[in-house]
């Protein structure tokens, strides 16, 4: 019994010792470089422009406001990305079980190709080759496509936003497709036979019979993909989209406040993480509840 206690004390001492050394080094270095720890600088004017703002912003606004705008931009691209990726992923995942052999092969090729190429490369492809490669003057009626931006149903979407959105959706969609495929496979064969022998069509059967039963297997893995998408949205900096990370990056470069900036970013992503996880947990509960009730 006593040995256990000693091991605990030794382990705690080791960890605390390590922490102490690191914090000491940190303190020494902070003093040496003249940086303290403070958040007052957040009120100072940012001094840089942002290409994309959901709410009014000017360079004379505070860093805090700039970061908020970045947060909003992130939310914009993440939420739309989640929706698009889910639609794409569910379609591709369901296509893997389709009766049409060509469709199955296409869906499989999509997954195999997209997952073996880095997301950053794909983002840059969509930006430089895809959207910037569009003609100067808008084409299409309802959807105005040009390399200045997309006009969709009255909304003006920047090229940067579209590139990030497309890249994220296509990449995450491939992972979601695999998850959906796994979930569909977990539904017993008998269910398929049942709805087919009742004369129900493939599409109807998939939507009303199979997918709902595949949900409990799909949701947990889907949650981690959603969290991945949220994290991957930070790559937007590579194509010039002003998301939270990009704004933080500029802020830290200008103010030198690396530690505070890191803490703020950390908090923001923990919050985002919490939001998505709890949302999915609620969804999970609803789905399980409905399934139980219907039995």
């Amino acid at each position: 019994m006593h040995r256990r206690l000693w091991i605990q004390i030794a382990a705690a001492a080791l960890l605390l010792g390590l922490a102490a050394v690191l914090i000491n080094n940190l303190a020494v270095n902070l003093i040496r470089t003249g940086l303290g720890l403070s958040f007052g600088w957040l009120a100072r004017p940012a001094g840089f422009a942002l290409a994309e703002t959901a709410l009014p912003y000017s360079p004379s606004d505070s860093y805090a406001w700039a970061l908020t705008i970045g947060w909003l931009n992130s939310l914009k691209v993440i939420l739309s990305g989640l929706v698009l990726a889910t639609l794409l992923g569910v379609a591709a995942g369901a296509a893997r079980s389709s009766g049409n052999r060509l469709l199955r092969r296409l869906a499989a090729a999509y997954v195999a190709l997209i997952r073996q190429v880095p997301l950053l490369l794909q983002l840059m492809f969509w930006y430089f080759v895809g959207f910037l490669g569009l003609p100067e003057t808008p084409v299409g009626g309802l959807i105005g496509l040009s390399n200045q931006g997309i006009r969709l149903l009255g909304l003006d979407l920047s090229v940067e936003f579209c590139a990030v959105l497309t890249g994220l959706a296509v990449f995450t969609g491939a992972s979601i497709a695999e998850i959906v495929r796994g979930g569909i496979n977990s539904v017993p064969r008998g269910q398929w036979e049942a709805f087919r022998s009742l004369g129900l069509g493939e599409g109807l059967g998939m939507r009303r019979i199979v997918l709902p039963q595949a949900l409990p297997a799909i949701l947990p893995a889907l949650t981690s993909q959603y969290l991945n998408l949220a994290k991957n949205s930070t790559l937007a900096i590579a194509v010039g989209f002003a998301d939270l990370y990009a704004v933080s990056d500029t802020t830290i470069t200008q103010t030198g406040r690396a530690i505070e900036g890191f803490l703020l970013l950390l908090l923001s992503f923990l919050l985002l993480n919490l939001l998505i996880s709890s949302g999915m947990a609620v969804l999970n509960g609803l789905v399980l509840g409905r399934l139980k009730g219907s039995r």
């Binding site: 080094n25 270095n29 190429v117 069509g201 900096i237 992503f269």
Partner: protein, 323 residues
């Protein structure tokens, strides 16, 4: 599905595929200007490495390709097959020595490393560091000692909530702040540490899944044989847990290879980074599509090779198959 609609859909897809395929092949062979690739092959391979020493990273890459080919084809000679694991583990220190220098080779500073050789080096070094760290974290998370459990859980949860680019960026900025004044780490080393710290958290969760899959009766059986808890962990539990976690772990490795591309944003000239600077060169301006197609092919080949090696490893470690 309705026969007619099905037929129409297939026809439509075939037509689309045909058009895409045809224009794709046409572009590849005739319309594309491949000089941006062909004229710069050494750069893609080894970045800004001193030209007279280029043979060193090139030899390393060639050896890796050779090892992959040999492993996947399954050597006949017994001695070769048994020596493979040892040869593979030699590849990492060999790579470091070849690139860095020392031991009779002219030292080359890390800021001159680049291209695919840097991509590979980042991948293997980070993978090597993160595996033991991840195992320790997983064990820590399952520990009965509250200090270890809380610390491990906190680390894992925080690392998994934060985007990789942030960890890499802050790694570059903050790692020096935690070191004693006077000790300086070059950017490549800071990147490796940052990658390892990040990957360790994900590996920890995969290993934890493997540990959870092992029934407590295994620990019991080991205990009644008189094995100490440490022995039981090392000889019975961990070998099984790692085998179970192997697919997830190899997925992480492939992800690591892809994620090295993020260093391009932070100024390292690995494969993606060197391509970006090439595209900024007035001689190659606008050649985005050629470069990206080329890069996609290289990454795709590398990732697929890794995936194949992973399947091979899984089969080798399955006691039933290999006996």
């Amino acid at each position: 599905m309705n026969r007619v609609i099905d037929r129409l859909l297939t026809l439509l897809m075939l037509a689309l595929l045909g058009w895409v395929g045809f224009s794709g092949v046409h572009w590849l062979l005739f319309a594309a200007d491949w000089t941006v690739v062909t004229a710069n092959l050494p750069l893609y391979a080894v970045g800004g490495y001193p030209p007279d020493q280029r043979w060193r990273p090139l030899v390393w890459i060639a050896l890796l390709i050779l090892m992959t080919a040999i492993t996947l084809m399954g050597p006949r000679r017994g001695w070769l097959r048994r020596g493979l694991p040892a040869l593979w583990s030699l590849m990492v220190p060999l790579g470091v020595v070849l690139l860095a220098g020392g031991l009779g080779l002219q030292p080359v500073p890390t800021r001159e490393w680049g291209g695919f050789s840097l991509t590979l080096l980042l991948t293997v070094c980070s993978a090597l560091l993160s595996l033991p760290a991840g195992v320790l974290l997983a064990l820590g998370r399952r520990s009965e000692l509250p200090v270890l459990r809380v610390a491990s859980t906190a680390y894992i949860e925080v690392m998994r909530a934060v985007p990789l680019i942030a960890v890499l960026f802050f790694g570059q900025l903050l790692i020096p702040l935690f070191l004693p004044p006077g000790l300086e780490l070059n950017r490549v080393l800071r990147a490796v540490i940052a990658f390892a710290l990040f990957a360790a958290a994900y590996i920890a969760e995969d290993v934890r899944g493997g540990l959870q899959a092992i029934p407590p009766t295994q620990t019991e059986a080991a205990a009644v044989l008189g094995l100490s808890p440490f022995q039981s962990l090392r000889l019975v539990v961990l070998p099984q847990a790692l085998r179970i976690a192997l697919p997830a772990l190899t997925n992480q490795a492939v992800g690591l290879l892809q994620n090295t591309s993020l260093m391009a944003i932070l100024g390292l000239v690995e494969l993606l980074g060197i391509s970006r600077s090439l595209l900024a060169n007035p001689a190659f301006i606008g050649r985005y599509l050629e470069v990206y197609v080329w890069l996609a092919a290289v990454y795709w080949l590398a990732c697929t090779a890794m995936a194949l090696l992973a399947r091979h490893l899984e089969i080798q470690l399955d006691p039933l198959r290999s006996s």
